[in-house]
């Protein structure tokens, strides 16, 4: 078994045993799924990307993607991605691991913050911060010159306006001035690569949700009977489910490739392709399920609503498309293929 398989099995085991519909529903009241995260922490899941010298597993982005794929399939609530990436960024920047709930935001270019402890006089407003209000600490990743840095602060120093995404997950707005922060440089990752890591991990969640919708819809078509036979016996339904299978397999191919290579092109391609696959999964998943899929009680809605929320996270689908196209605009006719074929499989470009 590879590291990825071990992490996937551990994560799936926890989601099956610890995650309840009630826990998914209660995030609407902004209740953090404490029991679930306690189990995940005990299994070492949050430290999958942290180096062994800091007590982590150092299992790499592919394994982390695999965990988030399982989380996406299970519609697991809470900021798992932000916790996993946050712990890794902390240790890469010389901080200790954080035991308090910590959220993560991307602040773009910031020129007025010195390294070390200081006061952030005029931070930008931070939008859509996952579980920002529930967290004790906040990591803001920002770009300084061509480097990536983080600014760590206490959320208590910020003014927080609660919000939520389509899945009812808290997405808060944080504003403030004269915030006490400690800033440090992330070693080994620039700003684009840090954002790309978040985009790739979100891709894992999107993939998991798409795969669940495909598997459940195909299964449902063999259970539900109308006109005296299973609806999966009708060609119209078979054709739809084949198209959903196409999209699930395509999603898996590009996300796995992007996780293995971590190139800008493949991550951009993955997020662009997943945008279309998510749209197809939502449309066909619901069409196959009919009315039952529209009920709050049935599990389909948890994945549908997360796909709607995740599709444009950490770079919108449109922005990833523009970024991918930018690598090709200006090429001569015969340069297009080598660009496609050569940079696709190898490391960052």
């Amino acid at each position: 078994m590879s590291d990825s398989d071990i992490f996937r099995d551990a994560a799936e085991h926890i989601f099956v045993n610890e995650l309840t519909s009630a826990a998914i529903e209660s995030i609407k009241e902004r209740a953090f799924p404490t029991a679930l995260y306690k189990a995940l922490t005990e299994a070492g899941i949050p430290l999958v990307l942290v180096s062994e010298s800091h007590g982590g597993a150092d299992a790499g982005l592919f394994a982390a993607m695999t965990i988030l794929r399982a989380a996406g399939a299970a519609a697991a609530p809470g900021p798992l991605l932000e916790i996993i990436l946050g712990q890794s960024l902390l240790t890469k920047s010389g901080f200790a691991l954080e035991s308090e709930l910590t959220s993560l935001a991307f602040g773009g270019q910031i020129d007025d913050l010195e390294l070390g402890a200081g006061i952030w006089t005029k931070p930008p407003a931070l939008h859509n911060v996952s579980w920002g209000g529930a967290s004790r600490r906040l990591i803001v990743v920002y770009q300084y010159a061509n480097r990536a840095r983080i600014a760590v602060s206490n959320t208590a120093d910020w003014s927080i306006s609660p919000g939520a995404d389509t899945a009812d997950e808290p997405r808060d707005q944080l504003r403030g001035q004269d915030i006490p922060v400690v800033c440090a440089e992330i070693t080994g990752l620039n700003y684009d690569e840090t954002l790309r890591s978040a985009a790739l991990l979100r891709a894992g969640q999107i993939l998991g949700a798409i795969e669940w919708i495909f598997a459940r819809s195909a299964e449902y078509a063999t259970e539900r009977k109308q006109f005296g036979r299973e609806i999966g016996k009708f060609q119209a339904v078979q054709q739809m489910l084949a198209e959903l299978a196409d999209n699930a397999l395509a999603s898996s191919a590009i996300v796995e490739a992007a996780s293995a290579a971590f190139s800008n092109m493949l991550v951009a391609a993955a997020r662009s392709r997943l945008g279309d696959a998510a749209d197809v999964a939502i449309a066909i998943g619901h069409q196959v399920h009919g009315a039952i899929g529209f009920s709050r009680e049935y599990g389909l809605n948890y994945r549908t609503r997360r796909l709607m929320a995740w599709r444009d996270d950490y770079g919108s689908v449109a922005s990833w498309r523009e970024r991918l196209a930018q690598a090709f605009v200006g090429l001569a006719r015969d340069e297009v293929w080598p660009k496609l074929a050569d940079t696709a499989l190898r490391g960052p470009d």
Binding site: E12, I254, A341
Partner: protein, 392 residues
């Protein structure tokens, strides 16, 4: 039910593509070859899509050892891996090299003979295919048998010294310029099974009783033919595999043709011509549309490479291969639609630098409806996928 992450309904699986130094090496070799062909003026930027047909090019490719690449050396092959063959074909196709003459023999006729043929057949045909001296076409479709292949009416009747074939094949690409057809014919009627009683034969297209007549396609070209068999005599040595096992052999043969790069690269030269014509400025909407197409292309390539690698590892990823063809051919059509719109939005339709782009666009539009029909319609492919995921 809310949280059950059980994926048992899905029998689909993928492996990451195999990367090897040998694959990198053949990629470089093919690129060098293409560069030489271009420098020598033997390979011009095309104004048409399609595989092209050039016996000269086929011979030069054969001289490189790239036909029958994976076959045993004793049959003229080179015993290289499926991944190397994948890389070689995608490089030739992406460069628009005219490979049509040997394409069918290399992709499916040769592998069918290798898998089911007699020793004598292998020794007779495979070395000639690999040296670029023997070309094949596919004898499956008939006037009354398209998607419903098992309903075919061509019959082969036993006669003391062999078989007498009567019937009609249609949509036969290149029948007017290749040497042999593998004919699927009914040799017996089996009660209760339409799939039993079919047999494959190798038929020399110059044999008495074979009449080839052209079918001009919508783009105005002669690639397709109708082939009439009137009392055509073949010997027992022409039978491929077991009598009556034709359906299983054809199913294996069709699986070879579903996941290759020719299933998603047909309109690639239109896309690269568009990018080359566009220059360094592009509207935001164009960049979004272009990025979307490129993301689908990169995804299809990953799928196609994965399937090639799984075949190399001894797997039979038939459902996954059907998915590549379903997605790939729809993508090929989408490229044509989207490039047409982007060309218009960018004001290139009547631009003096866009003459070749416009020619390609016209030609690709005319061919596009065939992408999702040839080699088995997408509806049939989705039926195969539906069976694979447990619905049929």
């Amino acid at each position: 039910l809310a949280i059950d992450a059980n994926m048992s309904a899905s029998s689909l699986r993928l492996e990451l593509p195999i990367q090897s130094a040998a694959a990198d090496e053949i990629r470089c070799d093919v690129r060098r070859f293409i560069q030489d062909e271009r420098s020598a003026g033997r390979l011009q930027p095309p104004s048409k899509i399609g595989l092209g047909f050039s016996i000269d090019m086929t011979r030069r490719i054969a001289a490189k050892g790239w036909i029958g690449l994976t076959w045993p050396k004793r049959y003229g092959g080179h015993e290289r891996s499926a991944m190397e063959r994948y890389v070689m074909t995608e490089e030739l196709l992406a460069a628009s090299a005219p490979v049509g003459a040997h394409w069918i023999a290399d992709r499916q006729s040769g592998p069918v003979l290798l898998k089911f043929g007699t020793e004598a057949q292998k020794q007779d045909y495979l070395p000639r295919i690999a040296s670029g001296n023997c070309f094949f076409c596919v004898g499956m479709s008939e006037p009354e048998s398209g998607s419903d292949l098992a309903s075919l009416r061509t019959r082969a009747v036993r006669r003391d010294d062999g078989w007498i074939i009567n019937g009609r094949k249609i949509w036969t690409t290149n029948a007017h310029r290749v040497h042999y057809m593998i004919v699927l014919a009914r040799t017996s009627s089996v009660e209760g099974s339409r799939h039993a009683g079919l047999t494959q034969f190798i038929v020399d297209l110059t044999a008495p009783g074979v009449a080839v007549s052209p079918i001009v396609s919508m783009p105005g070209e002669h690639d397709f033919n109708e082939v009439l068999f009137t009392d055509v005599h073949v010997s027992d040595a022409a039978v491929i595999g077991e009598l009556g096992n034709g359906w299983n052999q054809v199913s294996a043969e069709l699986a070879y043709e579903r996941s290759g790069p020719e299933r998603w690269l047909s309109s690639f030269r239109l896309l690269s011509e568009f990018i080359g014509t566009l220059g360094s400025q592009a509207r935001q909407s164009t960049r979004q549309e272009l990025g979307r197409l490129l993301s689908h292309l990169l995804t299809l390539r990953q799928l196609s490479m994965s399937v090639a690698g799984m075949i190399e590892n001894g797997g039979t990823p038939n459902i996954e291969a059907a998915i590549v063809k379903d997605l790939g051919t729809k993508f090929e059509q989408e490229v044509v639609r989207v490039v047409r719109n982007m060309t218009s939005v960018e004001g290139l339709l009547d631009h003096e630098n866009a003459v070749r782009l416009k020619e390609l666009l016209t030609h690709a539009q005319l061919w596009a409806p065939a992408f999702t029909i040839r080699g088995g319609t997408n509806e049939i492919l989705r039926g195969i996928i539906a069976r694979g995921i447990g619905l049929r």
